[in-house]
């Protein structure tokens, strides 16, 4: 079973990196970009076949290590046989 974890800064927390990338896009002529925030994607290969159980474990991993609860929020996505099942 494969999973993806998305980690991003919480809304309301300044993302200077995102602002710099947005300015660079503007420099290339992409003036339609209104906001840009940089986050992380973590791809995991997991043992087991129970997406519900995996989802719970992934959320625990996020709380304990993958995301910093002070500044970041996360979403967890299980990817099965090429079909994407968004669980949170």
């Amino acid at each position: 079973m494969r999973a993806r974890v998305f980690v991003r800064l919480k809304r309301g927390i300044l993302d200077p990196q995102g602002a710099a990338v947005k300015r660079a896009l503007e420099g290339l002529g992409y003036r339609e970009v209104q906001e840009l925030r940089v986050g992380k994607v973590l791809e995991l290969e997991l043992e087991g076949t129970d997406p519900g159980q995996a989802h719970g474990r992934l959320e625990e991993m996020c709380r304990r290590l993958l995301a910093n609860p002070v500044t970041e929020e996360f979403t967890v996505e299980i990817v099965e046989d090429g079909a994407r099942q968004r669980l949170a």
Binding site: P16, Q17, R64, V70
Partner: protein, 237 residues
């Protein structure tokens, strides 16, 4: 008084701390590997600056879950003191030993420069030899030193007088221009509620000999040694 200096893979200020404690201050000091959990013979553990575990994921994130850091709550509970500088401060926040987080500098630049620090709290073991409002000069060297805490945490820090250092001008004014990294309210260092765990972004070990441009960093050690030795709280083996 016995010091331990922790080495994680990627730590870079370990030798500087070891040298300052052993050669400048003439105190017993040893290195502590990141997998060691037996801290029984130490009075103060130093978490030095650097890039522990490559700072992968987030600065200090992996070190914050390492064996030596997981042994810290017990160490502190039995009277041990912890000083985390730079990456050490990031690690203490990641481990939940101190509140808040250290984020990418607002200017997006790595800042390696001298800073001035306003002593806000001179009533911790680390600052007892200082006076409130005193200005210290110490270097910083980091890309992720912007202290952030939510409003409630900030209120608690203030109410409990846990903000120890703020970035200021040479004259001691806490201004936006004196803030090198965008830290909330110019915060450069905080302590835990008991005052026994200090985290700060500046490097006291790099301000410990006049040949290095200043000795204000020694003042923290003098305060700590004075506090612990004089009140008899140096831990017994």
């Amino acid at each position: 008084m016995r010091f331990g200096v922790v080495i994680f893979p990627g730590t870079w200020s370990d030798c500087d701390f070891h040298y300052v404690i052993g050669e400048v201050l003439r105190q017993p000091v040893k290195y502590v590997w990141h997998r060691d959990t037996d801290l029984g013979d130490l009075d103060c553990l130093i978490l030095p600056g650097g890039f522990s575990y490559g700072d992968y994921l987030r600065a200090g994130a992996i070190a914050g879950r390492s064996p030596v850091v997981e042994a810290l709550p017990d160490f502190v509970a039995r009277g041990g003191h912890v000083l985390g500088s730079c990456n050490g401060f990031q690690i203490l926040c990641e481990a939940g030993m101190l509140p808040g987080a250290l984020m990418r500098n607002e200017c997006l630049q790595y800042r390696c420069q001298s800073t001035h620090l306003f002593v806000e709290n001179a009533d911790t073991p680390f600052t007892r030899g200082l006076r409130p409002g005193q200005v210290l000069k110490m270097p910083i060297s980091h890309g992720e030193g912007k202290y952030y805490a939510d409003a409630e945490t900030l209120r608690t820090l203030k109410a409990r007088n846990r903000i120890v250092f703020r970035y200021c001008t040479e004259a001691g004014d806490v201004t936006k221009d004196a803030n090198p990294n965008g830290s909330i309210e110019n915060i450069a260092g905080i302590v835990n509620d008991a005052g026994t765990v200090l985290g700060l972004m500046p490097h006291p070990e790099r301000a410990a000999e006049s040949a290095m441009g200043g000795t204000d960093g020694l003042l923290l050690f003098h305060s700590l040694i004075g506090s612990l030795v004089e009140d008899g709280s140096v831990l017994k083996g």
